[in-house]
């Protein structure tokens, strides 16, 4: 049986791993390689590296550390941050990343998704969606790495995820902004709505504060994976402890 994936997310800013609350007020948590190796050894199924300022600063993630990570760990990893062209994606993938994740650039140029899917296969193309309830519906936000530049893309989340799947995305990471950093649990309600619309894998992101939140999201939403940052970086819970808890609750884990 395909196991439920646990994915520590390393938000990278200026070459270090950082964590903020609701995408803001970032604190430095440690060195990229050190944390990548630590989670790999704890049994993480995959890692995601978000260069959180790359899109809003209009620069591309520095591929030097991508190569370092690829040499170091033996599990898959995804890189996100300012990947605005097929050529840049190719560079990151050739440096050893398994997937690239695009967020703001996909909102600017939706065809980028299909161009990348055609060039590398859908399985390499992840679309990150930063979503929050606004007035009457869930909406997708862009440039969330920088508070001053964050703006509503005007896309309704449910329309956007259908669109990205149609364009050839291989996976969606739904970052539920209202729960991000709160430690109050994943946004089960929103994830359920999105899960029903998609045939491609869906990764839950935002809100993990204790092991029960992971079993809760898998039992209630049938997402394929859960992504978390702070809970792991602050050493509150290890990946291994999450997996033991999931296993005790009858969920398939590696």
């Amino acid at each position: 049986m395909l196991t439920k994936r646990i994915i520590p997310c390393l938000d990278v800013k200026d070459g270090q791993v950082v964590k903020g609350t609701k995408f803001r007020n970032h604190e430095v948590l440690g060195d990229i390689s050190e944390l990548a190796l630590k989670y790999s050894e704890q049994g993480a199924d995959e890692l995601v590296f978000y260069d959180i300022t790359a899109s809003s600063d209009q620069r591309t993630v520095d591929a030097k550390w991508v190569k370092d990570i690829a040499q170091l760990i033996d599990i898959p990893f995804c890189v996100a941050g300012g990947i605005i062209s097929v050529d840049k994606a190719r560079f990151i993938l050739n440096s050893g990343a398994d997937k690239i994740s695009i967020n703001s650039p996909a909102l600017e140029h939706p065809n980028l998704i299909s161009e990348m899917a055609k060039a590398f296969g859908s399985q390499c193309v992840v679309v990150g969606v930063d979503s929050i309830w606004h007035k009457d519906d869930y909406y997708v936000y862009k440039y969330t790495g920088d508070e001053a530049k964050t703006e509503n893309s005007k896309w309704r989340t449910l329309d956007w995820v259908k669109q990205v799947q149609a364009l050839g995305a291989g996976e969606v990471v739904l970052n539920c902004m209202s729960s991000d950093g709160t430690r109050d649990g994943f946004d089960v309600k929103q994830l359920k709505l999105v899960r029903e619309l998609l045939n491609i894998p869906l990764v839950a992101s935002g809100g993990a504060g204790k092991v029960e939140h992971f079993s809760d999201v898998f039992q209630k939403t049938n997402v394929d994976a859960a992504l978390a940052a702070g809970i792991f970086h602050r050493n509150e819970v290890s990946v291994q402890q999450v997996k033991e808890h999931l296993s005790e609750n009858g969920l398939p884990v590696r």
């Binding site: 398994d98 399985q123 390499c124 394929d224």
Partner: protein, 195 residues
Amino acid sequence: MITIADTGGSNISSIRYALKRLGEDSELIADADKIYNSSKVIVPGVGAASDSMQRLQKLELEDVLLKLKQPTLGICIGMHLLFNHSQEGDVDLLGVFDAEVKKIVSTELTVPHMGWNQVNWCKDDCLLIKDIPSGENFYFVHSFAAPVGAWTVGETKYGENFSAVVQQDNYFAVQFHPEKSSKMGSQLLRNFVKL
């Protein structure tokens, strides 16, 4: 020294790093004679089977990949290349293994099949799987898969069972990514290096 046939797959550097972690050097080669004269060959691949096949045709590597006598390992799309035909791009392939690679079709399961899944051994005399227990998890990312046949060494269930590890004579192939499958993936690559 392991020779990696230049199929253009984007997982080539990952495979080379994984071999390096085992202390094994590798070389990316697009020349038919050099591939023929090497001691071991890996056929990698990520993307679409049709793209990789076009590249093999352009580099005139089809014949040599069929003539190899040394241990040869296809990985992911590199595995598909060794089959007869793929529905992905409706393309004829090398045909070491006599079967068609087909799209994973399911109304209930997500596609691509992405993540860690168990591989159960159908045979236990294959040196590629030495010291790897049946039922271990490996990392998969694919939307097309080869059926189970006489050459199947290990199978995985995702909807239906498909071939995760196959062998015929000196040709070995795996659907998952050993270079990304943690300790068990390393063990499989180590077994290949030692063949």
